[in-house]
């Protein structure tokens, strides 16, 4: 099966006068891992919002497993198999961690795909928390989500995505705010997600860590895709370095 699992063609989106997404196209094979990088304001989050349906594009098309999902409502896209995390991950603060997971675990898709695999919701939730690194017998799942430290919240966000049994997992700056050791503990999990055949899309700033996981990257700047390829090739291109570091201003003479 060499059909791309997701194909983005000529995606455009403007907010007022600003073109946040300017004619972006790319495609991914099932099981590929993509990194989307670029300086701040380059349109990475808008691209994620477009793919996941939270924002409707002005032009362009998104095909998921051959199906046209352009303009489809976000909750339907989730149920088709694309899960995303949020950059500003806000859990349901007043609920326990465990209850935070009940909501995605009970979603239509998750219920259908899980079938009777875990017996009941509780077991499914505990299992999921274990997968992302919460110890089974600890008290953490019963604590209020608002009381969790940042690294745990990020992992909860990841658990939330995995609960949906997605085909594509989109992570919006998962590593932001995590310490080196926290990232190190999450990387095996991401490897396992890839191993299970899921397609991964990660928007990141922490390039070193990102490059260890993904197969290829796309560089955005001012809404335009300025480069695509494997990290080693892409990072040496002029337009990429100048996008991140700026170019020298030519002095007179």
């Amino acid at each position: 099966m060499n059909e791309p699992i997701i194909k983005i063609s000529n995606l455009c989106k403007s907010f007022g006068g600003t073109k946040a997404t300017n004619d972006i196209s790319f495609e991914l094979k099932p099981g590929e891992a993509l990194g989307i990088i670029g300086p701040n304001g380059s349109g990475k989050s808008t691209l994620i919002n477009l793919i996941s349906g939270f924002v409707k594009p002005d032009q362009g098309q998104i095909l998921f497993k051959g199906k046209n999902i352009t303009g489809v409502a976000p909750h339907k896209i989730v149920n088709l198999g694309i899960a995303r995390s949020f950059q500003m991950s806000r859990p349901f603060y007043n609920m326990s961690v465990y209850k935070n997971l009940i909501i995605p675990i009970s979603s239509p898709r998750a219920r259908k795909l899980r079938g009777g695999k875990y017996g009941d919701l509780d077991e499914a939730a505990i299992h999921l928390l274990e997968e992302v690194g919460f110890e089974r017998d600890s008290q953490v799942p019963y604590k209020e989500a608002g009381a969790l430290p940042h690294g745990y919240l990020k992992r909860l966000e990841l658990a939330r995505c995995l609960a949906l049994e997605p085909d594509i997992v989109i992570l919006d700056e998962l590593f932001s705010g995590m310490s080196m050791s926290e990232i190190a503990s999450v990387v095996p999990l991401l490897e396992r997600i890839k191993h299970e055949g899921k397609t991964l899309i990660m928007v990141e700033h922490r390039l070193t860590e990102l490059f260890k996981i993904i197969d290829k990257i796309i560089v955005l700047n001012f809404g335009i895709k300025i480069a695509e390829g494997i990290p080693r090739d892409v990072m040496t291109q002029d337009q990429v370095t100048s996008a991140y570091l700026g170019s020298e201003v030519e002095t007179g003479a």
Partner: protein, 345 residues
């Protein structure tokens, strides 16, 4: 180095609360009583009250009916708020229920036994349909439209003279029996109270609370939140439309006053005073305020002034509401402890 001792307040749970909170094991009769007696007393009181009708008199029984009606409207409000929808117009649901019941019996001669259930269900359905377009908006827009709707409907009826116009529909068939009526009303109140509390703490209710706290995350979990909000409106409307239908047959009259601002303000005040989000809070608020309101009746317009001042003071001064305050006091001990502040010089 200087040490300053000063005092701060600390709150710790009472022992009995800690033991009985995760009610897996009730270690003693005392624990059991602690958990149960508040609810038992209320239910007992409600069972006994209608039997006292000869002692208490029709006037106060009417006050009881009004109080129970306001409780229903407050419970309805609380469920909507649990889903993040703030209603400033409970009168809308009330009036819709009232008019449907009134029309069915006025025009077609139906008995209350049929009009009330029909008005309740159809009324809730109509309400959900009417409000569906604004469910996709956030924040204050739901409040604004619920505020304007009952006023609009009232003026429309007045202007078009349909459904009885300014005169309304009168001489509607009554509900049989005074005690029977009261028990029916109380039953519905208790059903709604316990039912809604159950609903909100269930997994379904969790989704509604999720919508209130972070609707994007619920969308990202694959739920059609518009549909869930519509369900919440329907379910929340049921006690309110029932209340309207009941009152239509209790006073045997339906008119434009069914959409009066009072029916929006009273439950709102009850909930603000008693505490939003707890369901019992609204009931507590209503139980305190309605009899109080009756006692103030002779003051005319001043009554409304006092009412709104109470609303104002509570919404700003005690936003958590009386119920949560009392519950906190019941379950926690507050005391002053000394703390040492070490100042380095």
């Amino acid at each position: 180095m200087r040490t300053n001792t000063s005092q701060r307040k600390e709150r710790i749970d009472r022992g009995i609360k800690v033991r009985s909170d995760e009610i897996f094991v009730l270690a003693s009769m005392r624990d059991l009583l602690y958990a149960i007696w508040p609810k038992a007393i209320v239910i007992l009181a409600m069972l006994i009250l209608p039997l006292l009708k000869d002692v208490v008199g029709m006037y106060w029984l009417n006050v009881l009916v009004t109080t129970l009606v306001v409780i229903l409207l407050a419970l309805s409000w609380d469920l909507l708020a649990s889903a993040g929808l703030v209603s400033l117009g409970q009168a809308f649901f009330f009036g819709v229920g009232s008019y449907i019941a009134g029309y069915l019996s006025f025009r077609f001669g139906w008995s209350p036994l049929f009009t009330i259930p029909t008005a309740t269900l159809v009324g809730a359905l109509i309400s959900a349909l009417f409000l569906y377009p604004v469910l996709r908006l956030r924040g204050i827009y739901f409040g604004l439209i619920t505020f304007a709707l009952p006023l609009l409907l009232g003026r429309l009826i007045e202007a078009t003279k349909v459904l009885g116009g300014t005169e309304g529909m009168s001489a509607l068939p009554p509900l049989p029996g005074i005690t029977g009526k009261l028990y029916l009303l109380m039953f519905i109140v208790l059903l709604t109270l316990f039912g809604f509390r159950r609903l909100v703490s269930s997994n379904y209710g969790l989704v509604l609370q999720g919508i209130r706290d972070n609707d994007r995350a619920v969308i990202a979990a694959g739920y059609n939140i518009q549909w869930y909000k519509a369900q919440a409106v329907f379910i929340a409307a049921l006690p309110a439309t029932f209340a309207g239908a009941f009152v239509a047959h209790h006073f045997q009259f339906v008119g434009i006053p069914a959409f009066a601002l009072d029916y929006s303000i009273l439950p709102l005040t009850a909930v603000v005073v008693g505490g939003a989000g707890t369901f019992i809070g609204g009931a507590l608020g209503a139980v305190i305020l309605m009899p109080l309101s009756e006692l103030l009746r002779e003051f005319g317009s001043l009554r409304v002034v006092i009412y709104s001042l109470i609303l104002l003071i509570f919404s700003v001064g005690l936003p958590e509401g009386l119920f949560k305050y009392i519950k906190r006091k019941y379950s926690q001990i507050e005391r002053l402890t000394t703390m040492e502040e070490v100042k380095h010089e």
